[in-house]
């Protein structure tokens, strides 16, 4: 089975069975709390970390968090927590 059609089947399955898509499709789940905290679940590691910019690798591509005084509160295999003044969160493919 080609890769595209497999993805499509998984999507349909998740859609009809109302399963959480982040689990079935291995998608990142991003939670933003105000402008203070960002949590990224299902990540694939850190690409870059500076106080102004954090880039996180995900299955969709790169998740970019911009702000000031950013700190990585914790890093678990399944979750990254970023603290600081958040200005922008962008998903770059």
């Amino acid at each position: 089975m080609p890769r595209e059609s497999k993805k499509r089947l998984e999507y349909l399955l998740a859609h009809y069975l109302e399963l959480p898509k982040d689990l079935v499709l291995d998608l990142p789940r991003v939670t933003i709390i105000g402008d203070m905290q960002v949590f990224v679940e299902n990540h694939r590691g850190i690409i870059e970390y500076t106080p102004e910019r954090v880039r996180v690798s995900t299955s969709l591509g790169e998740l970019r968090i911009e702000g000031a005084g950013l700190a990585l509160r914790n890093i678990f295999p399944e979750e990254i927590g970023v603290d600081g003044k958040i200005r922008a969160v962008a998903l770059l493919e």
Binding site: G45, I46, I47, E48, Y49, T50, P51, A71, L72, R73, N74, I75, F76, P77
Partner: protein, 424 residues
């Protein structure tokens, strides 16, 4: 988060400084090897601060080598490191423990004994009796039973109805005194306890000495406890028989009109002291001539101020007095302002002052019949003076034990006569 920081503290953690070109590589490697990192902060472009459990430091060194980063330990935190450090400073720990033990030890003594709630019973007597029951400064407080001391006080001191003893380092004895009921059966007079004009008089027993409308002074007998036999007819001319005189406890209601006068004054122009709201507190220890200031400025930084000074001395023990005193000085800044008042304002202020004095003098629950204000003029233009007069009607009769010497016609040995009668 709290749980994690608690565990981190219990297990011990390190604050590491990671230097290198790509600390991200270090982070990712640690992630894949299952080494937990938290609180990653980039201090500047070179240094990344990382917190990590102390036990995972060994595996982190391999990771750092592979990521081409150098590791440096900035701080070691947590209980294991604290214990390690304190192991080398045993005297410090010992001192802390000794301090706690000493405070506990000193708290187990009674240092002072305080008596509250006494009116007629003297506090010194209560203290003496409490000391006799075992509660005195210097004893171990576990050896004193508050209940026993209270029982002893209630038994031994006649005027005490109830005693409560709180045994502590600063012990407190609370006394409630017994209200002695009036004696009814001994012969007595009813006398006036205030100056006034008799408004109405109701005699239940005894001989009235005044009639309605009379002016009485404080201490005057209003109803006498001596009842004489009816005056025999003038024709016989015999002196009344002394044996026929009866002595009773005079009873009756004496209501009199009383005048209270209160004076009030106010200046039209005067210097007033107002609080500015600024205040300082100085806490110092005085030893002989030396003063050690613990808190607050050395000098009071205001020009005009009011002081409140409290001193706390260590109680004497045997004949040793401690030359140490804790002094708390509270200074409130005041400012002097010249106030000018109009006639009305000055009058109102003077009246208020008089009313305030009146409120203190008037007994509670007494009906006021009339009140009037009089302006006193003595030529001083600056001063407004008023006299407030309040008229009330009060019960002024109180009973006093019969004093035979004052009674007319009582025999030469009044004491004996009275004693004999009372006994009968």
């Amino acid at each position: 988060m709290v749980l994690r920081s608690f565990w981190a503290y219990m297990l011990g953690y390190l604050v590491l400084a990671v230097r290198g070109e790509h600390p991200e590589r270090f982070i990712n490697l640690a992630l894949t090897r299952g080494v937990l990192l938290w609180d990653l902060v980039r201090v500047d472009s070179e240094v990344l601060l990382v917190k990590v459990y102390a036990r995972s430091f060994r595996s982190l060194r391999h990771i750092a080598r592979r990521a081409r980063c150098r590791l440096g330990i900035r701080a070691k935190r947590g209980l294991p490191f604290l214990i390690h450090r304190l192991r080398r400073r045993r005297m410090l720990v010992g001192g802390g423990v000794l301090f706690c033990l000493l405070v506990y030890f000193l708290c187990s003594f009674v240092w002072t004994v305080n008596v509250v709630g006494t009116r007629r019973v003297s506090p010194a007597l209560v203290k003496r009796m409490a000391a006799a029951a075992g509660l005195r400064p210097g004893v171990l407080r576990y050896q004193v039973s508050g209940r026993d001391v209270a029982d002893y006080l209630m038994q031994q001191i006649p005027g005490v109805a109830f005693a409560e003893v709180d045994v502590r380092a600063r012990s407190r004895i609370k006394i409630v005194e017994r209200v002695v009921p009036k004696r009814e059966n001994t012969p007595c007079d009813i006398i006036a306890n205030k100056d006034g004009m008799i408004e109405n008089l109701l005699v239940l027993s005894g001989t009235p000495r005044v009639k309605e409308g009379d002016i009485v002074k404080r201490g005057d007998v209003v109803i006498s406890g001596i009842i004489r036999p009816p005056v025999p007819e003038a024709k016989r001319g015999d002196a009344p028989q002394p044996s026929a005189i009866r002595y009773v406890a005079a009873k009756g209601i004496v209501r009199a009109r009383i005048w209270y006068r209160c004076y009030g004054e106010a200046f039209r122009s005067e210097l007033e002291e107002l609080k500015t709201g600024r205040a300082t507190k100085i806490i110092c220890i005085k030893m002989d001539q030396k003063e050690i200031i613990i808190k607050g400025p050395r000098e009071i930084p205001y020009r005009f101020y009011k002081l409140r000074v409290r001193r706390l001395k260590i109680p004497e023990w045997r004949d040793i007095t401690f030359p140490v005193e804790f002094v708390t000085i509270e200074a409130e800044e005041i400012r002097r302002v010249r106030v000018h008042r109009s006639d009305d304002e000055a009058l109102r202020l003077a009246t208020q002052q008089a009313c305030r004095k009146m409120a203190q003098r008037l007994p509670a629950g007494v009906p006021v019949v009339r009140r009037y204000l009089k302006l006193v003029n003595d030529g001083d233009a600056n001063l407004v003076r008023v006299v407030l007069t309040v008229e009330t009607v009060e019960d002024i009769g109180i009973s006093r034990k019969l004093q035979p010497k004052q009674g007319r016609g009582v025999s030469d040995q009044p004491e004996q006569t009275l004693e004999g009668l009372t006994g009968g």
